[in-house]
Symmetry: C2
Subunit: 308 residues, 2 copies
């Protein structure tokens, strides 16, 4: 199948990075990902700079990009104030973020889930006026740090509410990396049945090592759109329970090995992932950054002896 990958490294990947990442580094990250084949980005977030200082340069990052015409730039737009900022930039798609569970919604947005949906109405209207595409991002679609496993009914209710507002594309976020393949299957197939006209995107984290198993579940239901971050960055790197996005290079390796097309060059991804590792000054979770090439090793007497 032809698979479309959205690179979210400069947004979800860097959002919780404790040290400020220079605007030029964010821009270079995107330029390098374009070089490796990325054509869709969640570039940045128009959240309050007070809440998320790392995203304070949202306008500057978007203004500094020099990318081909076929590259689609998304930006997170959590509310009308964010939308008004985004309207002055080149972000073609506005990602409207809300939480599926009440506690996560309160913690993230200081409002109930229903209030969060209602608050998106003027954002969608402004998007229409400005000729931008609104995309919904449903955080905690599979699990919530406060409430545990997210009930399917809740996901369906939120998705229906968003669809009534006019959203035709929805990202299902496995925000804390608790999704398992059977849950992905049930959630995706239920949404496909309930809202067949809605395009679904899977946003998976690798907290429990299941991101690619979950991609497998998505693929088997015909899901062709996934999100990932170069190097697998994301989450708070120094906190216990650090939880990165699935790494773009690991996702691309898997998809290519299984015969799918992504438009990415794996060698370049690995090269740029190593660059990112140097920029952030630490080893990154992406497996392909460390995995040796297959079949390229020379037999070294003794070295491989008795390895199981």
């Amino acid at each position: 199948m032809k698979i479309e990958i959205t690179e979210v490294g400069s947004r979800d990947g860097l959002q919780n990075e404790p040290v400020p990442v220079p605007t030029e580094t964010k821009i270079e990250l995107i330029h390098r990902a374009v070089d490796a084949g990325a054509r869709r980005f969640e570039v940045t977030s128009f959240v309050s700079p007070r809440a998320v200082p790392q995203m304070a340069d949202a306008e500057a990052v978007l203004a500094g990009l020099d990318v081909p015409e076929d590259v689609v730039l998304q930006a997170l737009v959590p509310n009308l104030r964010g939308a008004e900022r985004a309207a002055k930039t080149r972000a073609q798609e506005w990602v409207c973020f809300l939480s599926v569970t009440e506690s996560h919604s309160q913690a993230n947005s200081n409002c109930s889930v229903d209030e969060a949906i209602a608050r998106l109405e003027p954002v969608v209207e402004l998007a229409r006026t400005e000729g931008r595409k609104p995309v919904a991002a449903l955080a905690a679609s599979f699990g919530c740090p406060f409430e545990g496993i997210t009930p399917l009914d809740q996901v369906l209710r939120v998705a229906r509410g968003l669809h009534d507002l006019g959203f035709e594309e929805m990202k299902l976020g496995d925000t804390i990396g608790t999704a398992i393949p059977s849950q992905v299957s049930v959630t995706v197939s239920s949404l496909q049945k309930a809202l067949p006209q809605v395009g679904l995107v899977l946003h998976l984290h690798d907290t429990r090592g299941l991101s690619l198993a979950n991609v497998m579940a998505g693929l088997s239901l015909g899901i062709t759109r996934y999100e990932s971050s170069l190097g697998g960055i994301g989450g708070c790197p120094f906190a216990p329970g650090a939880t990165g996005n699935v790494a773009t290079e690991d996702l691309v390796h898997f998809l290519h090995a299984e015969g799918h097309e992504t438009g990415f060059d794996l060698g370049k991804l690995v090269e740029h992932g190593r660059w990112l590792s140097e920029q952030l000054g630490r080893e990154l979770p992406g497996r392909l950054l460390k995995a040796p090439p297959i079949g390229a090793t020379q037999p070294l007497d003794g070295i491989e002896r008795a390895v199981g």
Copy 2:
């Protein structure tokens, strides 16, 4: 399904550990795994102490174990000399190790694949005389560091040769972690068809993040036996391309979440995995050692704000 997991931490996990691990630590590792529910172990290896110094205490580890009667102890027995050593111990199952590819066989055992099969004949005979069960371990069943992807025909040819020698149980080793789900499916289903009477065990590494996706492929074909190591230890921890076994705690978390039974206690596994991490003095690859409990976090104002 009821799933049986063989804990291989004290053998494949520690084999390439550069610093000598005390015999008592290996024994405690096994005792702790028993406490967490493990009932089958690949304890150690009767290889030449010159080739693998870390396994030089094979006899002492086996002699020092104090485990319940239903615990099955395996030991690696690469040749007749190893078998003669194993015969003097309590190892009930002898794991006869050989490589499926010619280059890996030469590098590991200084002989061709056919010679390796032939060399196992007296080992199997001795096992029969001594009342031990011979189990075959097919290294490089999916990929080879020298030759690349392992052709299926080669795996089938070696498996048939081993079956002719009397092996009724075979471990398929993804030695360098290159297996992908579709390859696991094709390999397993071909072997099930060619040798329906042979019991298959999957031994997977997580080098490219696909171990659990590969388990998923195995489960869908009815494979109920897997190998793993506490903490995901294994491979050379300081070499580029370090490649651990799938972590027992990650495997158990996945299997339980999908409704399978393993007999393991995940909480104890995580506790003992953290102990092992302290013993080895480094962070281990096992994801569950770092993942926060689901649904147990208290909402902290601001902390979770705008996390995607």
